[in-house]
Each structure stands twice: as structure tokens, then as C-alpha cells.
């Protein structure tokens, strides 16, 4: 299946462990292991080789290998007499997990689960398409492409969740209004403060200009939460209009605000925890390399915090926006 050489660990002889203390007085332990690798493909299939691996207790960039694990290897010479392990083969784990989740979703939720999976697949396709488009322009029109993408994401996802009903119109308009209002507030705040504290260099894994990447991620990060909110509020209000057609418009607005207030808190927490948990590996590294709390915060958590706050602002402003749009578009007595 793979063109790269793949082997399997068949024996592991663990050698000596040495203690290491670094210049920040962190104590760590390094262990050497001698592994026997049996080749699973290529011309040397079935042959076994010995190779060394060194791992640390912290394991930030290394790992201990166990018997039974499959690994990618690279040959160290032309004659293929020596090999080195380059990476663990992890595809089984993730493929199994994807299947497990898909099966559970469909088993528990039936067709709704299938629709949820379909919407995720559609969004991944849109997302990849957008990145490809963006690369055609060498990152120059990043923000325009992601603005268009935001429209496409919103329409496709809400259409799948709500169907072509009136509340679909309400939810789409409210989602776009909430998202771009929050984005506008972010740009305004940058303008007022001059961007004090924000270091775009701290954006991890950039192959392009980090600034437009961060701005684009601000735009799409809260989109799901805001769609969650607008579809909840507009469905609840559409239900009220069906049950009591002579409901007063302002009563509809108040009901929308009540529904919205209840979900604001938890939605903010969902995104906050996602954005902040990601910063943990780097934050620990900073703290244990002699950086102060404020340096660690600025260089590892600041961007996540900005992202959390902008999405929280989007989630909050969406409540009155959805309620107002519902009042205008869903009807009710004047």
C-alpha cells in the first residue's frame, strides 16, 4: 500500500538510562533501546535489521517504540544494509477512530447522523478548495477567499440542518451579520490599540504571511458556534409562530433573547477550551525554559485568547441580531 519502506518492530532491548539536567535545572531521563525491525514491503521484505532509538521521559520530539508497532524507515546506505526509523505508522489508529465515530453517529442518530457527517464532508471539501484557490494567488487574496468561503459554509451547512425553510433565511443572514460584526469589532480594536500585545510571529506552522492567516482564522473559528446559535433561536421562534400565529412581534423578539441567553455561556466555553488547550505543549516548554508568566502568556496564549474573545463577542451579538431578523422575517402581529 505504501511506496515508502515499512517495517515492524519484532524485538526491543532496552539499554541504559542516563540522567540529564539542563541549564534551567530540569531533570530528564534518556534511554537507549536497540530495536529489531522486520521489513514488511520492498525488496528486503522479510529481512530483519537492528537499529537504535533514543527516547526521553518527556518525549517532546521522540518516542519509545514497542514490539508490534509498524514504522516507516529510511535506508542509510544504497545497498540497504542499514536503516533508521523515521516515523511511527499511525494510520490504523485514526482510520479506526473515524469509522468508530461514523458508526456511532449513524447508529445513535440514524438519518440525522448521516446528514451531520455529510455536512462535515461538504465543509472539508469547501475548505480544501478554498486553500487550493488561495495558493493559486500565493496568499495574496486570502481574506477575500475566506470571506467568500464564510458565505458558502453558512449557506451549505444551514441548508443541511434546517432545509429550505423560512428560518434558513433568518439563520443565514444572522450568522453572516454576527460573524462579520465580530470581525469588524476585531479590526476596530486593532486599529484603536495599534495591535499592542499581538505578535503574529507566534502563529505556529506558517508557510505564508501569518497576519492574513490569523485574520482568516478569526473569521471562521466561531462560524460553527454562531450557526448553532442562529439555527436554535430561529427554529424555536418559527415553532412559536406555527403554534400561536397571532403572537406579537416584540413577544417573538423577547422569546428569541431568552432562548439565546441560555446558550451563550456554554457556547463561549466550548471555543475557549478548544483555542486554549492547543497552546499547552508550547506553554509548558516556555515555562520550563526560564520564561516568566507574562512572557509565556504573550508568546503562547495571546493569540488563542484574542480568538476566544472575538468569537465570544460574535456569539453574544448574534442573539439580538437573530431575534431582530426573526421578528422581521418570520411574521407575527405588528
Amino acid at each position: 500500500m505504501y511506496s515508502q519502506p515499512v517495517g515492524q518492530i519484532v524485538a526491543d532491548k532496552t539499554g541504559a538510562t542516563t540522567k540529564n539536567t539542563d541549564e534551567h535545572s530540569n531533570t530528564d531521563y534518556q534511554t537507549r533501546q536497540t530495536l529489531t525491525v522486520k521489513m514488511l514491503n520492498g525488496p528486503k521484505r522479510g529481512h530483519t535489521y537492528r537499529t537504535d532509538n533514543q527516547y526521553t521521559r518527556s518525549g517532546a520530539v521522540d518516542q519509545r517504540y514497542r514490539v508490534g508497532q509498524q514504522v516507516f524507515i529510511s535506508w542509510q546506505d544504497k545497498a540497504r544494509t542499514k536503516l533508521a526509523i523515521t516515523n511511527q505508522k499511525r494510520d490504523t489508529v485514526i482510520v479506526l477512530l473515524i469509522w468508530l465515530v461514523a458508526v456511532v453517529l449513524i447508529a445513535v442518530l440514524r438519518w440525522r447522523g448521516a446528514v451531520a457527517i455529510l455536512s462535515v464532508v461538504a465543509n472539508i471539501a469547501l475548505f480544501l478548495l478554498a486553500i487550493e484557490l488561495e495558493l493559486l494567488h500565493y496568499g495574496a487574496s486570502m481574506l477575500w477567499i475566506f470571506t467568500a468561503l464564510t458565505f458558502a459554509f453558512t449557506v451549505v451547512t444551514l441548508l443541511l440542518i434546517l432545509g429550505p425553510k423560512r428560518q434558513f433565511g433568518v439563520a443565514s443572514l444572522a450568522t453572516l451579520a454576527g460573524t462579520f460584526l465580530a470581525y469588524g469589532i476585531f479590526v476596530f480594536v486593532l486599529h484603536i490599540t495599534g495591535g499592542v500585545g499581538l505578535h503574529y510571529e507566534a502563529v505556529a506552522y506558517t508557510v505564508q504571511q501569518p497576519k492574513p492567516i490569523f485574520w482568516a482564522s478569526i473569521m471562521i473559528g466561531s462560524l460553527g458556534a454562531i450557526m448553532d446559535e442562529t439555527s436554535d433561536i430561529s427554529s424555536a421562534l418559527a415553532q412559536i409562530v406555527v403554534e400561536t400565529p397571532d403572537v406579537h412581534r416584540w413577544q417573538l423578539f423577547r422569546s428569541g433573547m431568552t432562548v439565546g441567553r441560555e446558550i451563550v455561556g456554554p457556547l463561549i466555553s466550548i471555543l475557549f477550551l478548544i483555542f486554549m488547550a492547543d497552546t499547552f505543549p508550547m506553554a509548558v516548554l516556555y515555562l520550563n525554559n526560564g520564561n516568566s508568566f507574562s512572557q509565556t502568556f504573550t508568546w503562547t496564549m495571546y493569540l488563542g485568547m484574542v480568538q476566544s474573545l472575538v468569537s465570544a463577542i460574535g456569539i453574544v451579538v448574534t442573539v439580538p441580531l437573530t431575534s431582530l431578523l426573526s421578528m422581521v422575517l418570520l411574521g407575527g402581529r405588528k
Binding site: N26, T56, E262, V264
Partner: protein, 259 residues
């Protein structure tokens, strides 16, 4: 004034305008959870066992999310118990994923970003990866358990003598609506969080074979998938606890009538 300070002030004002007094509670809860997260990271650095620390911190973070929400008392108590249960299930699953996937620490993509650092810091990154998988699922689990529990109580209030079987059917129905939208919240949250990394994968033309063995990609995908499992698990668990509570209440009411 820094960007975070001004954004924080704007958020506080908007929260009070939209949510009234509970706007304060939400803001305070967010602040509290930030302090909890920062303390957790600091404890990791000081050598506390990461998984155990995370489980304890999660119990408090969940309490803040659930009890500071606008839901009523009987809802929050059940939602908290359910989220705690799901959190422990996720801890087990995260351990399994880490054991077989070895997704700890930094991927090859990190490159120069960590060049100047000492990596021999003695903190077990394998446990930190379990911690991250758990923490990023917590918010979604709390939200789902609040929504399912309060939905079920609404049904039970309208149909007082509801059978457990009917309640499970309703639970599935309510759960279905919630999971569909919760998946989107998670999905875009993770996309937003790792946009740069996805651009990296596409720009450097990662093959599917490379991607599906990549440490960082797998830890991202595992995060979304595990959070989804957490949200789905919330549905039957909430229904079960609500149904137990209702039976208990009915039994108590009967006993009172007998006296």
C-alpha cells in the same frame, strides 16, 4: 491598552447589554476558567502528574461552565454529574488513542519554532496530549448535557407519567438535533484553531499517506473525533440519569400519598 484588554471590556459590556445580570456571571466564569487553565499548565511545568491534574481541573472547569450557565437547579445538578461521567470515559479513550498513536509533543512541522529551547524538561508530553484531548472536549460535553437534560425535563413536565421507553425516544430526538449543530461548532472551532497547519498540509502537498501518519494531523483529528464521541455519549447518559431521577421522585411521591 492591549488588544486582549480592550476586547475583554467590549465583551463584558455586550454580555451585560444582552444577558443582563447573568452576563456578569458568564464573564466571571470565563475569567475563572482562564485562571484554572493557566494554573494547570503551571502545575505541569512544576512536575505535577498531568493526567491526574487535568481530571481534577476538569471537574472544576465543568462546574464553572455548568453551574454558571442560565439553566435551572435540577438541570445543572444532573448535567454536572453526566459531564463528569463522560469526562472520565473520554480520559480512558484519550489514553487508548495516545497509547497506540503516540501523538505527544511537537510534530516535524514545528521546526525552528522550538530551536532555541531545551527539550529535556522532564514533563511527560505523552500525558499532556491526553490532557489536551480531554480539555478541548469539555465545553462541548457540558453544553450537550445541559441541552439534553433541560430538553428532557421540559418533555417530562408536559407528560408527567412518561415511560422510560418514551423518554429514551425523546432523548434520542433531542440529542439528534443537538449533535448535528454541536458537530459544526467543534468542526469550525478546530479549523479556526489550526488554519495555518491545514494551509501547510495543502501547500506542501502532503499525500494522504503522509497526512494519516502525521503526529499533528492525527492529534487534531483525534480531538474533533473524541469531542464528537463525548457529545454523543452525553445523550444516553443524560436520558438515563433523568429517567432515574424521575422514577425516584415518583416513588417518593407515592410514599407520601401512602402516609
Amino acid at each position: 491598552m492591549g488588544v486582549v484588554t480592550l476586547l475583554g471590556i467590549i465583551l463584558l459590556v455586550l454580555l451585560i447589554l444582552v444577558c443582563g445580570k447573568s452576563g456578569f456571571t458568564i464573564f466571571f466564569g470565563l475569567l475563572l476558567n482562564f485562571i484554572l487553565l493557566f494554573t494547570t499548565v503551571t502545575l505541569f511545568g512544576l512536575g505535577a502528574p498531568p493526567v491526574l491534574t487535568t481530571i481534577l481541573a476538569s471537574a472544576v472547569i465543568l462546574a464553572v461552565v455548568v453551574f454558571f450557565s442560565a439553566a435551572g437547579n435540577r438541570v445543572t445538578r444532573i448535567a454536572y454529574v453526566v459531564s463528569l461521567g463522560v469526562m472520565l470515559i473520554l480520559a480512558g479513550l484519550a489514553w487508548v488513542i495516545q497509547f497506540f498513536g503516540n501523538i505527544q509533543g511537537f510534530g516535524n512541522e514545528v521546526g525552528e519554532d522550538i530551536g532555541g529551547f531545551s527539550l529535556l524538561i522532564g514533563v511527560p508530553y505523552s500525558q499532556i496530549s491526553i490532557s489536551i484531548l480531554m480539555l478541548s472536549a469539555l465545553g462541548a460535553v457540558a453544553e450537550a448535557s445541559i441541552a439534553v437534560t433541560s430538553g428532557l425535563f421540559e418533555v417530562a413536565d408536559q407528560v408527567p407519567d412518561i415511560t422510560p421507553a418514551q423518554l429514551f425516544k425523546d432523548g434520542q430526538d433531542i440529542g439528534g438535533k443537538i449533535i448535528g449543530t454541536a458537530l459544526n461548532t467543534l468542526f469550525f472551532g478546530f479549523f479556526g484553531s489550526y488554519l495555518a497547519l491545514f494551509i501547510w498540509f495543502v501547500q506542501l502537498k502532503y499525500s494522504p499517506g503522509l497526512l494519516f501518519n502525521d503526529k499533528l494531523f492525527i492529534s487534531e483529528a483525534a480531538s474533533v473525533l473524541l469531542s464528537t464521541v463525548g457529545v454523543v455519549a452525553t445523550v444516553p447518559l443524560s436520558t438515563w440519569v433523568v429517567s432515574l431521577t424521575l422514577q425516584h421522585q415518583a416513588a417518593q411521591a407515592e410514599r407520601k400519598e401512602d402516609h
